[in-house]
């Protein structure tokens, strides 16, 4: 593969590209697919999986690829597990990657805000996903839509409030105790 992604060992195992009929084996296999999709899109910083453009479904080195039916199974499982969300429910062509569930993000963000002294002060959305302070956090590089989702949850818990800025990236968040 031309790209720099470090493909895991199971990606070269031919049976990986046949969805297994035996339930226990299939469970394990699908969890590996979920992992692969997440890792790949995280490392490439791709937040929307466009199904027919994704290079994961075929490994030309071992001449194997997922059939259309098997691909449907993988995507359905991915979405069901909460790691993905269809942008277009009926067409199912574009899938937003949620590598952490919004609730998980919400608590991660609040914890970070607390330990970095942001309680009762404001930071912008931009700072939340790309600021220096967020280096190494789970929401570093996160999709803004996701962040808004997470903040929405915090708002519901009374732990934060979203303020409108001049541009959408300048929208700010204030954290409360």
């Amino acid at each position: 593969m031309g790209d720099s992604f470090d493909y895991p060992e199971f990606y070269s195992f031919p049976p990986f590209f046949t969805i297994q009929p035996v339930a226990a084996t299939r469970e394990k296999q699908l969890s590996l697919w979920r992992d692969l999709i997440l890792k790949y899109h995280t490392s490439k910083r791709i937040s929307i999986l466009v199904v027919h453009e994704c290079p994961l479904w075929e490994n030309s080195e071992i001449s194997r690829s997922l059939s259309k039916d098997d691909l449907d199974i993988v995507m359905a499982d991915f979405v069901k597990s909460g790691h993905g969300e269809w942008e277009d429910q009926s067409l199912k062509t574009r899938c937003r990657i949620l590598w952490r569930r919004p609730e998980a993000f919400a608590s991660d963000i609040y914890q970070w805000a607390d330990s970095n002294g942001y309680i009762n002060s404001v930071c912008t959305l931009y700072e939340l996903h790309s600021g220096e302070d967020v280096n190494g956090t789970s929401f570093e590089g996160a999709d803004e839509e996701l962040l808004r989702r997470a903040i929405g949850i915090l708002e519901g818990q009374g732990k934060a409030k979203l303020f409108k800025g001049e541009t959408s990236s300048e929208d700010g968040v204030k954290f409360f105790r």
């Binding site: 199971f10 031919p14 049976p15 297994q20 226990a24 084996t25 590996l32 194997r64």
Partner: protein, 465 residues
Amino acid sequence: TRSKHTAMPKQRWSPLSCIPTATLAQHSGLLVPEPPDDEVETLVTPPNVQLRIPLALPIITEGSTKSSDTVVDDDKNNNHAANDHDEYSDMYEDRDDNLTLIVTTHRLVFIYKQPQPQPSSSSKSNNKARSMDLSLLQRAQTSGSSYFKSPKIILTTESYGEVLLVFPDSRMRDQTLTKIDLSLRRKAWERQQQQQPQNKQQTPKGSGSRPSQTGSGSVGVAAIIARNKRRNEEAKALSKSAFGDFEGLLQRARDVQRVIEKYSATLDKDKQKNSSNNNSDYDSSTEDEIKLTNMLRGMGMATNAVTKSSAGSTSMYHEQLARQLADFLSRSGALQSSGGIMTLVDVYCLYNRARGTNLISPDDLLSVVELLQTLQLGMSKRKFPSGVVVIQADDHDDELMAKKLRELSLNNGGVTALFASQHFKINLILATELLLAAERLEYLCRDSTLESLMFFPNRFFLDGW
């Protein structure tokens, strides 16, 4: 009952105790022919024959030290007269019930079940056998059976006096008498006695080959020629009467089948009527159906004229056939060499080929495989999820096979069914089933492409991924 106890333990002596034991094969429960091995079974009855020896002096073959000088009365009542203080006579019952009688060319064999603390209804390991050489019989005849008495055969013997075989119906009695007569006329044991002094290989029955000339005990060439002539004439007469019988039998069978069809049509009508009333007559008519089907099956005519209820019952014919099949499969090593599993198709072909004549029908085989497990013959029917039916030896282990297949796929970068069948020398369909079974046990996983279906070791669980 009337016994007065002393130090001697209470033991039951009966006619079976008076005659020598016979050997049954360990796994199949079949009768082991006595040397020199050309004994042939000509009839097997259901287990409802009674053996009766009303002796004046019971002759017990298993170590009894007492003797009795009691005079035993007529067989009708068990009252032993005279010496009441002799417990020995008290312990002799003059009859054994529920025996299976096998008539052979050399003997009468009685099969009985040894009573055990936990009776299992058709376990072959409970079966024991005793026999009576036909050479000891002087005469066999029927007793005049009136309406109230059971039909019997009276055997006149030197050793035991009069021996009675009691049957539940006269048809069975007549059939048995015919076979006994046949064997008595043939005198197969005499032929052996003449050949044994000559000390050479037995000539196979009915082959018509001439025995060689030398011999210490024989009278000379003239005797050999005379014996051959006699044998040929016997064979000729026998086949004439046999084929004559056969034509008649065939005609009767056709007539019977017509009657059956009419009868079962009436039965069906009655059943429909009764099932709505939930009549108790229903049960007896089903029993009749079952008896009829079994009778026809025993004659080799499978009939579909009767309903599913009779398919659930077993007959003597099928039980015997099951034992023979199991015996063949284990003795010939066929089952073992294909890894302890064979498809029904393979069994059918192999077994019929070995039989040569008197082939079994596919229907027979289907009925027989159902019985294998209940009769505990060391193998049983197995149906895979895909519907493929096989006969599987009881010691076959799915896990072991799965491990072997995984080993094979490890060493060969994946296996196809074709490869596995060539490697283990088994049927392709069987190889497929075993691969699928190993997959279900999670030893293998599959790689399905347009070209083929291959199986790999299941690294999803093995490799810490």
